[in-house]
Amino acid sequence: MSAKLLATWTRRRFLANAGLASAAMVSPLSRDAAAAEGQTYPAQSFLACVASRSAIDAPTQHLEAFVIRGRDKYLVAQLQSLEPIGAIVLHPTRNVLYAAYDTSEYLGLPGASVAVFSIERSTGTFVLLDRRALTLSATNPRNISISPDGATLLVSASGGGAYNSFGVAADGVLDGPPRALKLTGCGPHPLQSSARPGFSAFHRSGRYAYACDFGSDRIDQLAFVDGVPGIVSRAHLLPGSGPCHLAIHPSERAIAVVSQLRPEVTIIRIDPDSVRLGLTSHRALLESARLSRGYFDASGHALSVVGTTNSGAPAVSTYRVAQPDFTLRQVLSANVDLEPRLLIDNLALSGRTPLATTMRSI
């Protein structure tokens, strides 16, 4: 299938579809969007993938790959899956996608699995290259990340309270068995009966990753010694926070942690020499919102936090980031770049609900 121009999309269309115009908590982006259509599209092109589902053909899930250029998006590959996809991530340089299936069993064993797909633009398909079981008890993965050098894949098995890491060969296929790090921990909220590792992001060096443990109100710094993940340092959030996402500041001297149970963004300093997690330098509590993620703009001067209002409407809050102390000040209007990841939330075709997204520049 040749790449097909599916739709011209605009920030207005994105925001309208996402319902941000009705978001009570945030206006900066919506006002900004209304006033500046077409103003802040990323200049570069992206390869993006979305896993989604619709109420019509549930439980079928749709995996789609797009090329995004400016305002335009092109569908380049698609696949239907009857197995629930919990997380996806693109290889940093190759047309390879890793998908973690959100299951508690694979081949009868109590663990989930990861599939490796080649994105074949010439045929418009995802071609399965490999599928590997996670370790025993590593169930229901909800996040997957890959190091910037493409050498290490990290899967967060939320259900089983474990990280699994794989070595990745130069051609993108998984190299060797998974290596596990089993967590313990809990929190005061009923959803925190056990450790629930979730979102992770690699340090630019590829040697470390930072990850959220939703169940234990912790942020873990992981290192990979001979491919085996281990805890290097930890930062503890307020009990009952439920961290769900983090963003590494461009300076790599702090991370912003977004919490869901206690709707809060927390800045944690990173020691510039050891890259260990340090002290919490700032907290900002957001009212009446369920937060999902945060991101810094390229300059590091703005932090946007994405979530939904109590009524379920999408919402974004934006903060100015003061440096070097990383204090936050919420702003009512801001001229921030639209985060590419935000854009791909609206990529799923025909009104399907996105479940997982990933993108990289090409």
Binding site: S104, L136, P177, A180, K182, T184
Partner: protein
């Protein structure tokens, strides 16, 4: 790791020996092998070692005797095997009791110590190198089970290490009044599910028999047509389904061993008997049992008495020839039967054991006369053994040496077992498995990962009366982070 525990890592010359299970299929390969083995000699060392293992985020697996039939222990990539074999005391907790058995004690040691020091015994297994930890916590039965019940029926308390939600190791003494749910769970489902049992306690134990009578009936395969084979199985099953239910016969135990037909081979029925008073003076029950098979004119292996029956001291009989064999590659399965063999089952057995097209080399089916004191329905309420109505218990075994034959023998066992429980004698929803009105599923101490292919596998092992959901709740309560897990552990 513990200051006193012995840590065997991959650089230690002992590692290659100690990384293995008795079943040489495991570890599957070097990658699947554990990263280290930690040998502990007491509960404090075990607790300390466990705490360190949990804190470092690696998987602990627990080994007492090393006879686990599946990959629950030694397949543990980069993990740690906590080897309890040095924690093997058998004594009294205090001068007034109760009896205390550590998980590393082997059954043979337990029998000797309990007999010599206290003149009591445990109604446990016949493989005397088997460790108490796995054997007892999984149910535990043997030649005295029809007379005295299962090992778990006698436990009155146990010490167990659990890991709390925050990862802290907690030492607990549990019994019917303290953490009673965990106590019940460990009486039959305690192997590798909830924590590490570091001591079993028994307020009382049955008196050791003084003397037993033993004998063996032999039925040469050469004399067994299909019809006579069916007759033999029918007679055997019918005995346990009728006369064998009478408490008067509960002192009688038997094992029928059936292998493939080949030159000189036979099907044997070995029996052991003692009266309720611990002697074997009155052999009426034994003679009646032997007479039951007279129409098939069996041979008798023992010629030391006129009836082919010998009497010997119980301890001597119990310890003689009762090891666990050498280390081999092996595959096991199990089935509980509530009724005698069906025609279809007999035909399947006959076909697989006599057909020239089927290679049954290394296969042995042990059919134990079961029931008696094990079949007390009320014990389903205070133990985690759901099978309390069976008359026979089958242990399917296959042994071989060459790794290259793994696939061949595993397929043979799978095909054989599946065929045995496929047909009109098994409800449609349970085809391929021993479940339904005629059966009570499988025994977890004879774990068989092939059963994982069936959605109802938990029912096979834990019944369908709510025990599994109870165990899941216990799991959530005492091991919320699922530290103790295997391919067949309780799932949350």
């Amino acid at each position: 790791m513990s200051a006193n525990a012995i840590i065997i890592d991959r650089n230690d010359p002992r590692f290659d020996t100690l990384k293995r299970a008795n079943n040489l299929r495991f570890p599957k390969n070097d990658v699947e092998a554990a990263g280290r083995i930690v040998l502990c000699k007491d509960a404090h060392e075990i607790a300390d070692a466990l705490q360190r293992i949990v804190a470092s985020g690696i998987r602990p697996t627990i080994r007492s005797g090393g006879h686990c039939y599946e990959d629950f222990v030694v397949n543990n990539p980069n993990g740690a095997i906590l080897d309890l074999s040095l924690h093997n005391t058998v004594d009294e907790h205090s001068p007034a009791g109760p009896f205390r058995i550590a998980p590393g004690a082997r059954l043979g040691e337990i029998y000797q110590t309990l007999y010599k020091r206290y003149n009591v015994t445990l109604p446990a297994g016949t493989c005397y190198m088997v460790g108490a930890g796995g054997h007892i916590s999984g149910g535990g039965y043997g030649l005295l089970a029809r007379q005295h019940g299962l090992t778990v029926d006698w436990i009155t308390a146990l010490d167990i290490l659990t890991v709390n939600p925050n990862g802290k190791v907690i030492a607990r003494r549990v019994d019917a009044s303290k953490d009673a749910d965990l106590f019940r769970a460990c009486r039959g489902a305690g192997g590798g599910n909830f924590g590490i049992i570091t001591n079993f306690y028994f307020d009382k134990l049955p008196s050791a028999p003084i003397q037993v009578a033993q004998g063996t009936l032999e039925f040469p395969w050469a004399s067994l047509t299909h019809e006579r084979f069916d007759k033999l199985l029918s007679l055997y099953g019918n005995y346990w389904n009728t006369r064998g239910r009478d408490p008067e016969t509960w002192g009688l135990s038997s094992v029928m061993t059936i292998g493939r037909r080949h030159a000189g081979s036979s099907i044997n029925i070995a029996i052991q008997y003692c009266n309720a008073d611990g002697n074997a003076n009155d052999l009426t029950i034994v003679r009646e049992f032997l007479h039951h098979f007279s129409e098939l004119q069996p041979g008798k292996s023992s010629a030391s008495s006129s009836a082919g029956i010998t009497r010997s001291p119980w301890l001597e009989a119990t310890l003689a020839g009762g090891d666990s064999g050498g280390v081999m590659r092996a595959k096991y399965k199990s089935s509980y039967m509530k009724e005698p063999f069906t025609e279809a089952e007999c035909s399947t057995l006959y076909k697989f054991l006599t057909s020239a097209e089927i290679d049954a080399q290394g296969f042995v089916l042990a059919v134990d006369g079961y029931g008696g004191a094990t079949n007390v329905p009320q014990r389903t309420q205070d133990t985690s053994i759901a099978q309390r109505a069976s008359i026979m218990k089958l242990q399917w075994q296959c042994y071989w040496e060459d790794q290259n034959e793994d696939a061949l023998h595993l397929k043979f066992m799978d095909d054989f077992y599946t065929a045995m429980y496929t047909g009109s004698h098994v409800p449609a929803e349970y085809q391929g498995t021993p479940f339904g009105d005629r059966y009570e599923g499988c025994y977890m101490n004879y774990a068989d990962a092939d059963m994982l292919r069936y959605k109802h596998w938990p029912e096979l092992y834990y019944g369908s009366a709510g025990l599994y959901s109870f165990l899941q709740q216990v799991k959530r309560t005492y091991d919320s982070n699922n530290i103790f897990h295997s391919s067949m552990s309780i799932r949350t």
